[in-house]
């Protein structure tokens, strides 16, 4: 993929164009990535239509019944991207994968706890409790600089 930087006085503010011979999944995906990278928002879907969620407001993004949801303090929203795509889009310093089915916002974690049976529980804001896969513990430590 070619990336061009065009400097011209006719542009009064920065613009990003994605050019292709046709609109397809790839162009949509690119548009989504660029849009979210620039605006720090996630496109979410509700019964009433589309909403833009501020990434910093998202508590967690998770898979349930093969659908992806984003939970914020104000509610839960359906997302159209897949979890690995969300992982690519989101800021890796703020969000971390904690299991095969979940990504959480580091700033929304209250604490972690280990049960007697060895399950790692994660307590998040809004009284959300989830579990952490041991396979991702080293990744969490790395993101936190431990």
């Amino acid at each position: 993929m070619k990336i061009k930087l065009i400097i011209d006085k006719k542009y009064t503010e920065p613009e990003i164009h994605i050019c292709n011979e046709e609109k397809n999944n790839e162009t949509e995906r690119l548009a989504g990535i660029v849009s979210q990278a620039v605006n720090a928002t996630i496109t979410a879907y509700t019964e009433n239509g589309v909403e833009l969620l501020l990434c910093e407001a998202v508590i967690r993004i998770y898979t349930e019944n093969q659908k992806i949801y984003a939970a914020t303090a104000s509610g839960t929203y359906r997302l159209h991207q897949r979890l690995f795509e969300m992982e690519e889009i989101l800021d890796g310093r703020r969000f971390v994968r904690i299991s095969n089915s979940e990504i959480v916002n580091l700033r929304k974690i209250k604490r972690l706890d280990t049960s007697m049976s060895g399950t790692i529980l994660m307590y998040l804001q809004n009284d959300i409790t989830t579990f952490v896969s041991r396979r991702y513990v080293s990744k969490i430590k790395k993101v936190l600089g431990i």
């Binding site: 580091l106 041991r134 396979r135």
Partner: protein, 159 residues
């Protein structure tokens, strides 16, 4: 689920093939070291179950392959995320023990002497329990370190 089954199948097959390759190599090395005509590295009681030493050796290789396959395929149990470490470990322990103990009894007659058999099983259980405790403590330490860092992170956000 399908992904896990594929993973189990791949690990089982890999374990089977590696175990056979290693055991063929070991049998060749032992035979070369002993260097006696007609020697085959087999326990006599086990070899007596077969009409020829070759069949006995071949069967032993296959059984060792199955044992290794059970350990390999069973390792996917340790990756089931919604199971606790305890549940994963206990089920993995049961699955693998159900394979290696009968194979060992048959091939090497480990149940011939009851005291030796019991002490071997006990030492296996003990080493398994110790390794579980080590894993559990490492996990607790990691969680404590993460919690400490989260507190620092929250404090720096407040400032």
């Amino acid at each position: 689920m399908m992904n896990m089954l594929k993973k189990a199948l791949f690990r089982g097959l890999s374990g089977f093939m590696y175990a056979i390759a290693i055991n063929v190599l070991l049998a060749l090395i032992i035979t070369a070291i002993v260097n006696e005509p007609g020697f085959v590295p087999l326990v006599p009681d086990y070899a007596a179950h077969f009409s020829s030493k070759f069949t006995a050796l071949l069967t032993q290789f296959v059984l060792i392959g199955f044992t290794s396959a059970a350990f390999g395929a069973g390792s996917v149990l340790l990756e089931i995320e919604h199971w606790s470490l305890l549940k994963q470990s206990i089920i993995y322990f049961i699955v693998t023990t159900l394979v290696w103990v009968p194979v060992s009894i048959f091939c090497w007659g480990i149940a011939k002497y009851t005291v030796a058999f019991i002490s071997m099983i006990c030492s296996y259980v003990l080493s398994y329990a110790i390794s579980w405790l080590i894993q559990y403590n490492l996990c607790k330490k990691s969680v404590a370190a993460i919690n400490e860092k989260l507190i620092q992170l929250n404090e720096s956000e407040l400032e």
